[in-house]
Structure formats: C-alpha cells, structure tokens
Amino acid sequence: MAATNGSGGAQIVACDAGGTMTDVIVVDRDGSFAIGKAATTPGDQAAGFCEALDEALGTPGGSPASLAAIEACVYSGTSMLNALLTGTGRRVGVITRRGEEDIFLHQRSRQSWAGYGHADVLHHVAHHRPDPLVPRRLVKGVEGRIDMFGVEAIPLYEHDVRTAVAELLDDGVEAIAVCLMYSYMNPSHEQRVAEIAAEVIAEAGDPPVTLHLSHELAPIIREHGRLNTVVLHAAAAEPSRAQLLRIEAALHGRDYPHPLQVLLSHGGVADIRYQRLHESTFSGPIGGLLGARYLSSVTGVDNWVCADMGGTSFDVGLIMAGEPMIDREVTVTRRIFNLPTLVMDTVGAGMGMFVSVDPLTGRITLGPESAGADPGPVSYGRGNDTPTVMDCALICGLLNPRNYLGGKVVLDVDRALKALREQCADRLRIDAHDLAEGVLELVASSMREHIRTVLSTRGFSAADYDLLAYGGAGPLLMAAYTSGLPFRGVVTVPWAAGFSAFGAAAVDLSHRYQKSTGIIVPDGADDGWKAAMGTMVNAGWDELEARASEDLRAEGLSWDDATVVPIAYVRYGGQLEDLEVASPVRRIDSAADMDALTDAFEDLYRRIYAQVATHRQAGFQIFDLGLTVTIPKVKPHLVRRDVEGPAPPPEAVLGTRDVYHGGRRQPATIYDMDALRPGNRISGIAVVEAPATTMFVPPDHHVRVDEWSMLWLTAGDQT
C-alpha cells in the first residue's frame, strides 16, 4: 500500500461500509493506493465515511482536504439490509393475489435452511423458517388472475383493492408493495391496483404512502423472491437513499463536484438517485470480483479464482474469460431475493472463528460462531476469552503483535496462549503451539476443500485458473490453502485488505435489467414460428431498453454514450437451469436471427459442458430476458513499474522473528511489503508485513514481485 501523496494526487474514492468497519480506498492518478478504516456509524454513515476518508487521505483530525480534484466516488454498504432485518425500515403493507396471503409464512422450503452450514442443512431438526418479513396482518389478498401467457383469466376485483388499501392505511403503513402472479407477463392488474390505491390514498387526505410494483422493480419469475425484493425496496431503499444523500452532501461540502455513486450487486455502478436502489443491497462481498475482473483487463490473466478471507467467512468466486458469473436469485441472511448478483460461494472459515474442543469426540471444533470485531480475538484483550483462529496465528508468530493494523491494536500473545492452553491444549494433552499450528492447517484444509468444491461442482479444473488471495487475512494462509491445488499461479496484492473497495473503484457505470417471459422454440420449428417468437423477444428487449434510457436520462447521462448488450437466458427444453447468453444480434427480426441466438447458446453450452451434452432435439426455451447498458467511467490506473533486481532493498528487510512451523521454532526473515520492488524475489521461511495485511511464506516457497507490484507465490523449484 503506497502513500497517496504521489505526484498525481487523489483521483478515485471507493468505500465499503460493512457491519462493523468502513473501509475507504483512495486511488491516485499515478496508480498508488491508500486505505483508511473507521468504525461504521449506522446513525449517520457520513461520519464513519469521512473519518475513514481522512485517514486514507492522510489528514485525520486535521483540516479536511479539498475533494475538488476527485473524479469519482463509489459507495457500497449493508445499511439497507440491516434496516430491513432490524425492523428500522419503513412500515410496509403488501397486496398480493387472494389465496397467497400466507406467503411470508409458507415461504419457499429452501428458505428453511438457507444460509446454514452443511451439517445443519442435512439435519432436518435444525431447519426453521425465518421470521416473516411482513406481519400477516399487513398482507392483503385481492381476487384476479393473469395466466402464464399473460392473458387475463379472472378480472381484477377492484372493490377488493379498495378495501385492502383502506385497511392498510388504517394500520398506518408508510409504503405498499404490490406483487401479483405473472405480472411480468402482463402488468395490467398491478397497474390498476396502483391507480386505485392512489385514489384511495388521495381520498384519505394524502398521507405520505408510497407504492411499489413488482413488475417495475423485479419482473422475474417466482413470487416469493420477487415479493421479498419489493418489500426490501419499499422498506429500506428510501431511508437508505436519505443516508446516501447526506454522505453526498458532506462530500459536496468539501468541493467534490460529481454525484455519489453506489455499487450494484450485479457489478454495475449507478448514481444514488437510481430508481432500483435496492440493487445495491448485497454489493459488499462482490467488490473483490470486480477488482479481479479489472486485473484481468490490465494483466491479461483472464481466469481467476478469487478468494476473500475475512473475519467470519471465506468467499470464493470465479472470473471466467475475464467475466464474473451472475445468479438471478441471491440468498442473504437466510432469505431469497430475486436480484441479479455476482456469484460467490461462502463457507464459514474466518480468522475470528472460535476454537474449542468438542467434549464428546475430543476433537477440535472451529466456529461456527466468530468473535467479530468487537470484542474480537482473545489477544485484543477486550473481553472475549474464547480463543480464535487469529489467536493461533499470533501464537505461531505469523502476526506481529506490535504491527497489527499498522500498530493501532497491540496484541497480547500471552493472553491468547493462556486461553488456548487452558481451554483446548490441556484437554487434548498436547502442546499449545502444536495445537495452534494444527488449527491453522485445519482452517486451511477447509478452505482448500471449499475451493476444490467450487471448481469441481462446475466441472472446472484449478489448472485453468490463477488464484487471487485477498481480504485482510487472505495472504496469511494462501500458501497453506492452495497447497496441492494445481493452479497456474497464486498471487496477492499489497492492497489485499482494501481489495473489495478497490474493486468498487474499478467498475464502469452500468445498469442491468431483467424481465421474465415464456418463449419456446421446438426442434424443427418453422421460420414463421421462430419469427413470431422473435417478436416476443424484441418486445421484451424494447421494454427494458425504454426503462434503461429513462434511467440514464434521470441520471443526466447520454444514451449515445452507452453500450447496450441484449441478453437471453436460454435452456434446452425441459431443463431446470439456463445459461446467460449475450445475444449476437441486436434484434430478432427473422428466423436466421433466432438461429444465431440459439447457436450462441449451444456454443456456450459446449464450452461449459461438452459437445456430447448438447441436445437440440429438446428444443429451446427462454424464460428470462435481460439487458445491460454500460458507460465508461474513470478507473484506477494500475502502474507498470520497471523490473529491478531480485535482491530486496535493505530497507525492505525488517529483521528476523521466530515462527512456529513444522512443529518447531524457526527464524523467519521479516519484510516490509511496501518497500519491496518489482523484480524482487524472496524465499521462505519469511513473513511479509503491511499495515493491514500479513503474508506468510513457508519453507520451500518463493515470492516474486511483478511489474504490477503483485506478489506471486510459488512452491518448490518453480520460480
């Protein structure tokens, strides 16, 4: 992490506001970075944001620096989700179709184990439906039905709507969410509900109640996830927007000249005035994937396994051919939302996980709970007495007790050692240092298995990928958890601790639109049928395009600057899963255009699975359409530096420290990560320290710093 006071001056600010800590990264014109950290301030997020920003700018407590030269500021955070789950969002009433009023109680069965660890998924006794997002009393059913082809089967009973709205108003709701079946095929009933509701609200003296319609916010198949999404928006989007506007006002007060932008969960960025602000809810963990995508574009490495190790979890995502994968449903805090989100697979394996001994089996157990940032590990000395994985790393000497978070926290090794010895090692009758090393290996092996699973369940091989380790704790165990996996390369970056925020800075301004449909092209369909289906596809794309151009206009952007990519989700007839296909044609105006689309699908299918898996005899189905619009935005300038000799400069060598590795104490060379130069090579056993992260290099491992300042780790003779 280089200082920001380089000749270029600060250019981009990006922020990742987590539940406990707010990270800010400031990127300079010359490509150097600085990271600032501060406690998140949920009441007024501007406070925590500005504190972290000042630290990154190197002016904590002093006179605030002017932000007039900053060209972009991107925010990502979890406040919206917290508002929804803690009930501090707005009071939402729901109108759904008659017969479905218990939808929040029934839920989808998947939600009864969503978010559980593997053992709990298998144990039915642990399954439990999360609390309803909206109490049953505030859910009203109205008669009426649109069928799956978008045809009205039962007319809307308008008197039902009047009664429902009046009852909700009596109950003091602040927002009404409307979600009717097949509204994405034909929104007329939802639109009529909105008209009637507006009348009833007006008759009631215009209380400040807002209306939110599912076909506008999430026109995607499956009511439950769609309704969850609409409720999320209704409850939390506007209060969250108010927070963001406060942050923007604070920035403008310091001469920042542009609008504040938010990161969206599908990897785009939008102005905070963007209508579907709820798309920014789950953007926290995906920043790293976007950072990796950016590294692909700069370095030419296009297949990445992105491995993010933090305090509570280990998240793994893939970049294939330079692009991340997207899911249209996301499960967060045990609830399913219909929201396109970049795919990351999470397993509980973080540095804060508790270490204990199972009294029945006498085996070491890790987690599932974590110490969090407060009270933190035993070594923080803030009241937690149960040892954590991080305490084990400290006991083994991998972490420097006086250079943790840049020396902001002094770690108490003796306290950690005592806790581990008394609670675990003595019970197992083994040495506490041996145990600590064993715990690290145990964590690493569960991470290794997780990576293996992520790849193998999709039929991929590590041999086709490079692994990128990030997150504050990522570089510490990267040698251990990649051991035995045949990656092409294993790498980390000096700004690993702020990599997610970096990723948020490295994205284009982009929106994504989605809509469900029902298009079927049987094998041997004639040209007339294909063209007719093409008309349906075009109608869907036209609708999304109209919405996109309206959004861009509202943000003051020009449609002419936008790159538009139409998308279709295609599957073979009868399949349950589909693939996202970027359409090779802008519109489907003929049978040949339809063939071009299905050919593109088959080509992708062949690359992902195999030639023998294709079976066009089943015909093709398209149940979802999409559209992305992208406008280029200023991004960090990663600087290619001259490669120097292999010997690190003297100022990079900080001395030696004993580390416990391989069952004994061994002297390790300590390096200063920021002082290493491109071209430098170091060999294990070594510890490379940076203020916010630490890299461990075991014996027989080597590190090479490349021209982008990235640190490549190799084992054995490969160098």
Partner: protein, 182 residues
C-alpha cells in the same frame, strides 16, 4: 457453549426462543449437559427416587428400592428397565377400519390389512406415552435399552452401584404369557 439450567428448563417447557434452541441443536454438547438435564427433570417430578436416565417424555429409568425401574411422572412404575415397558402399559390397538377411522378419517386411513397403530397409555395417569405404527403382527417394538453401567462408568466416570448385565429381558414377560395360554 455451556447451556444454563434456566435455558434447559425453558427448553423442556417449550419456552426457549429459536435462536437459543438452534444453538443447542447445532452446537456440541457441553460436559455437564446430562447432569444439568437430569437435575432439571428431578426438580419437576413429585417423587424422591433418583433419575438415572430420561427415556422419553414422561418416562425415566430411576433407582427404586435397589432396582432400576421405568417410572412415569405420575409415579406409576413399569418394572425393570430391561423389560420393554410397553408390555406393562395399557394398549389401544387400532387394527380395523373403524378404529383407524377415528384418527385417520376418509382417504387418510391406512389399510388395516397392512398396518396397525398401537397407542401406549400409562395405567397411572392416562398419559399417551408412545405410538407405534407397524406392519400387522409385528412384535411390540423395544425402542431403546440404555446400557446404564457402561454409560455411568465410562462416559460419566462415576460407576453405579451393583452392576447389572444389560440384556433384553422382555422374554421374561412374553414367555409367561405363552405358559398361561398353554
């Protein structure tokens, strides 16, 4: 994680919140869970005999007059724990259409040619202690015969007085039935 006595009391009473219940389900058992659980249960019964092991709702193996017997909350004793207590209970056997119809009306009723439902009732208090649904003619199921001496000696580290061989003695009852019929 150590579960407090109050939480266990609430768990038995069905009052414990889901978060804590889930933590108990998913977490490893603490060293003293068994003792604490037995203490809670012992406080809730009206008789003085020591509970050696809870068997199921209402039923416990207790030390009574130097013997280990199965005992109900209400105080009714079913005899030696190695003999299937169900044979000493009152039994409602639902083995024809009419009796099955009472609990599974209409289409939900199983075929009495294939299956029978047996309800076991405490002769002391009338509580429904267990229900089994089995193929016709299946012997009464002996759900569990805990090896008390091994458990106390090797798991808890405090052996019980007077070791008893842990073997199924149900035949002591059923063989007498046979003789009576002869």
């Amino acid at each position: 994680m150590s579960v407090s006595k109050d939480d266990l009391r609430d768990l038995y009473a069905g009052r414990l919140g889901w978060d804590k219940t889930k933590a108990i389900i998913s977490g490893p058992k603490d060293d003293d869970r068994f003792e604490t659980a037995v203490e809670v249960l012992q406080e809730q019964v009206s008789w003085p005999e020591r509970i050696l092991m809870p068997l199921r709702e209402h039923l416990y193996v207790v030390e009574s007059g130097g013997e280990r017997v199965v005992k109900c909350d209400c105080g009714h004793e079913f005899g030696d724990w190695r003999r299937n207590w169900k044979l000493s209970a009152l039994i409602i056997a639902r083995d024809d259409e009419a009796s099955l119809e009472e609990i599974y009306p209409g289409l939900r009723r199983p075929d009495p040619a294939l299956c029978e439902v047996r309800e076991f009732i405490c002769p002391g208090c009338g509580s429904l202690l267990d229900v089994e649904s089995v193929p016709v003619g299946c012997p009464i199921v002996f759900d569990a015969l805990p090896d008390l001496d091994t458990f106390y000696a090797e798991w808890l580290g405090r052996p019980l007085q007077g070791v008893r061989r842990c073997e199924d003695l149900t035949h002591e009852i059923t063989s007498r039935w046979g003789q009576a019929e002869l």
